[in-house]
């Protein structure tokens, strides 16, 4: 009956762990919200793109005019992300 006893014991242990959120509450609200993490990640990715483009023009893969156009576009997109991050923080968007 080792099997049965072990099963009951283990099931009880698991239940204790998984039911805790229902009992104790989640207390998640003061943590940074989900979309903040995603916006941060998107910001990182955009910065990496800007750096990649700069490396490309420095290495001669991209012509200076092409780079200027792409850089402008990417920086615009980055600013959008920063604006949304600011909104999340409750700051008024900068004019």
């Amino acid at each position: 009956m080792e099997y049965g006893l072990a099963a009951i014991l283990l099931a009880a242990l698991v239940a204790a762990v998984v039911l805790r959120p229902f009992v104790r509450g989640v207390g998640d609200d003061t943590r940074p919200s989900a979309s903040r993490e995603e916006l941060e990640a998107a910001k990182e990715a955009k910065y990496r793109e800007i750096r990649d483009a700069r490396l490309d023009v420095e290495m001669g893969k991209l012509s200076i005019e092409d780079h200027r156009a792409i850089d402008r576009e990417l920086r615009g997109e980055a600013i959008e992300i920063l604006k949304r991050l600011d909104e999340l923080d409750g700051k008024a968007p900068e004019a």
């Binding site: 080792e2 750096r51 490309d56 420095e58």
Partner: protein
């Protein structure tokens, strides 16, 4: 303790079902507690499976033969190293390993995304729980690793000697890590599709898991090839066997995936494509796991008619059906506004690269399943062999290497004409010089395809070197650092890019080795007596003498009897000694006689290879023991009732007899140019992948800052 192990599995199954259900509930109702509960259930699952694995491993290490698995797969004289790995040499144990890895990876990804992807993560949890649950169901319902025997035998059957090789110890865990790793992005893709958040968020969160999976799967495949080369008696590393192909296919689509997600991250394109690719990769991973144990294809990995083949097929069908329906229902959300600007852009080349990889996968799929296809279409079961595979995959492989050379030279969106000329000048020059040099100085022209591959390899390596040099030069104009520091900083700050370039270089080197060793290999099969000499490739080989060992197996695999040979190989000034042998493992079958059973069990070829950068010299021997048979038969009769010591003396006498008066033995000797570069290339790929996966310090710093900033915000709002 076996009961506890079984209980772990049963409770694990129930936990997985609970996790799937509560996560789904939390996803649909927004109940945060439910979502957290589901996540914790996955953590519990990992703990349960760890416990179960620990119990099973302890049984192996203690040689507890009351466990059916230990009795069938291990023995007291199996070296400890192989007692540990014996667990996953069995059906049940390998299912446990799969489930364990699945739960650990799920735990990792859910922990890392516990604060982000709030909408997607619960659905992903459900998918992950269902997958883990399937494997648990297989174990609980049909193939329980904790099955015990009522009458445990005194001695176990021992680990199959062919598996007593270090590469075989790590090969299954590597492959499974690869398969399981791809389940993570798959689960998040499904979640993203369900909630219609088809942007790049799910990709960013799971990109590293895809890379890690790709790395492990690739390494596992290479280890299998290495094992084939060094352990089996044929001297080859790839046979286009169905099971080999089954592991290669998800790797190919996985490679396509890690390229095309970059396009989605940068341009927001290829959303449908990426979703389909990761679904295909995961399905192929399941298929790979299934093929190895189904018995539906005539393969040398014949695991016989399995009890769980049908269940796998049902599960795979559900995954395919469900995923396809989901993608089709979300097609509108997956359409992107961006379009391909120019064919001479990195996006375009990634797309072509994807198409070539898919084409390779289709070819291999077709060839692997051809017996079933032909039977369905023509009523006759037919199969295609390595020559067909080689004929169709070689041109595609050549195109792939060419793409790997050109891709890095192109920028995103559109390349300028001047930039292209400047970029291609040096690499094309080097390739041309290589071509001429090879034509003039070697016999490479004998194999045109190999010649092309050599030139393409030169192209790729030049491109990578050029990228490194030009990038470092660009840095130096700003920072004024010396060259080594500039290069190191360049790579450190652009890990994804330069890690990727290094992978390209590794692949090119790997293909170089493959091309050279297949096209220019020379093989001799001879039957000679001691003292005889023969030629193999550029070497003159002499069979010096026979060897015979009792209880001292040089490979450390625990074989009692080992017959071999000492060969000397001469080439110009160089002389090498090779000592191939053949290990004999005792049979469990008592009907072969007390003496005979030591010669009638499994036998493995212990190959000896003289590794070299320019060429390998590979030798295997098959000693002829038919001359010993009369003596063995006599021994069986005379010493049938004798004790072990007497039998050991008899066997020692037989072994000495072989050494002193050996009959002619059959040898296979292979002179293989540039084979080592396959393994070197694979190591370079691994290094490149690690560089690409390693998180950059800046990213880490910024993440920490944002947590502090958040805490500051929280505290400020409370004040």
């Amino acid at each position: 303790m076996a009961g506890v192990g079984s209980a772990c599995l049963l409770v694990g199954l129930l936990t997985a079902v609970y996790a799937a259900g509560v996560s789904l509930y939390g996803a649909r109702t927004g109940d945060r507690a439910a979502v957290v509960s589901g996540r914790r259930a996955i953590y519990c699952l990992a703990a349960l499976l760890l416990a179960a694995t620990a119990i099973l491993q302890s049984a192996f290490l203690r040689s507890d033969f009351s466990y059916k698995l230990v009795a069938e797969g291990s023995s007291t004289d199996t070296p400890t190293f192989y007692k540990v790995t014996a667990m996953w040499a069995t059906q049940d144990g390998s299912l446990l390993l799969w489930a364990l890895l699945m739960s650990i990876f799920s735990t990792a990804v859910l922990f890392l995304t516990r604060r982000s992807l709030r909408d997607i993560a619960p659905y992903a949890t459900t998918v992950l729980a269902v997958i883990a649950g399937f494997f648990l169901l297989l174990m609980v319902g049909w193939e329980n690793p904790f099955t015990t025997l009522a009458n445990p035998p005194v001695e176990g059957a021992g680990l199959n000697p062919l598996l007593r090789h270090p590469a075989m110890m790590i090969h299954p865990p590597m492959l499974y890590t690869g398969y399981v790793g791809f389940a993570i992005p798959f689960a998040f893709a499904i979640g993203a599709l369900i909630v219609r958040q088809t942007g790049a968020d799910w990709i960013r969160a799971t990109r590293r898991f895809a890379l890690v999976a790709w790395t492990f799967l690739g390494t596992g495949i290479m280890l299998g090839a290495l094992w084939s080369y060094t352990e089996l008696g044929w001297g080859g590393y790839w046979a286009w066997d169905p099971v080999e192909n089954a592991s290669l296919m998800p790797w190919l689509t996985g490679t396509a995936f890690i390229h095309s997600i970059m396009v989605q991250e940068k341009r927001g394109m290829l959303k449908v494509w990426n979703a389909s690719l990761i679904i295909a990769t995961f399905v192929l991973a399941l298929l790979g796991t299934f093929l190895v144990r189904s018995g539906i294809l005539d393969s040398i990995h014949a695991f016989g008619a399995s009890t769980i083949g049908k269940q796998f097929l049902v599960f795979i069908a559900i995954v395919i059906g469900g995923s396809t329906a989901l993608v089709i229902s979300r097609l509108d959300d997956l359409r992107s506004k961006a379009r391909l600007d120019s064919l001479m852009s990195r996006e375009a080349f990634f797309l072509v690269n994807n198409l070539v990889l898919i084409a390779l996968c289709v070819v291999i799929f077709w060839g692997t399943f051809f017996p079933l296809i032909s039977e369905a279409l023509t009523g006759e079961e037919a199969s295609v062999g390595p020559p067909w595979f080689n004929r169709l995959t070689t041109p595609l492989a050549l195109v792939l290497v060419a793409l790997a050379a050109i891709g890095p030279l192109l920028p995103w969106r559109k390349a300028s004409r001047f930039g292209l000329v400047r970029a291609f000048r040096a690499p094309l020059a080097v390739a041309a010089v290589t071509f001429v040099a090879l034509l003039a100085l070697t016999n490479a022209a004998d194999s045109p395809l190999s010649l092309i591959m050599f030139c393409l390899t030169a192209l790729v390596l030049t491109v990578v070197a050029q990228e490194l040099a030009r990038g470092a030069a660009a840095r130096r104009t700003i920072t004024g650092d010396p060259w080594p520091r500039a290069m190191a900083q360049l790579v450190a700050r652009n890990r994804r890019r330069y890690g990727g370039y290094l992978v390209h270089a590794g692949i090119a080197v790997l293909f170089l080795g493959v091309a050279a060793s297949s096209a220019f290999q020379e093989q001799r099969d001879v039957r000679v007596s001691p003292g005889d000499s023969f030629d193999a490739g550029g070497y003159r080989i002499t069979y010096e003498r026979a060897t015979a060992n009792l209880g001292r197996d040089s490979a450390g695999t625990g074989a009692p009897i080992s017959f071999g040979a000492v060969l000397t190989a001469r080439r110009g000034d160089e002389t090498y000694t090779l000592r191939p042998s053949r290990n004999f493992y005792p049979s469990q079958d008592a009907s072969t006689g007390p003496i005979g059973r030591f010669f009638e069990g499994e036998a493995t070829s212990e190959v000896d290879v003289r590794w070299g950068l320019r060429r390998d010299l590979w030798a295997a021997v098959r000693p002829d023991i038919s001359g010993l048979e009369p003596a063995i038969r006599e021994g069986n009769e005379k010493f049938a009732g004798s004790n072990d010591t007497v039998q050991a003396v008899v066997i020692a006498a037989l072994v000495d007899g072989y050494r002193n008066d050996p009959p002619p033995a059959t040898f296979r000797v292979i002179d293989s140019p540039l084979v080592s570069w396959i393994w070197i290339g694979a190591a370079i790929v691994l290094l490149g992948a690690l560089i690409a996966i390693w998180p950059s310090p800046e990213a880490r710093l910024r993440r920490v800052t944002s947590i502090y900033a958040a805490r500051l915000g929280k505290e400020l709002s409370r004040a």
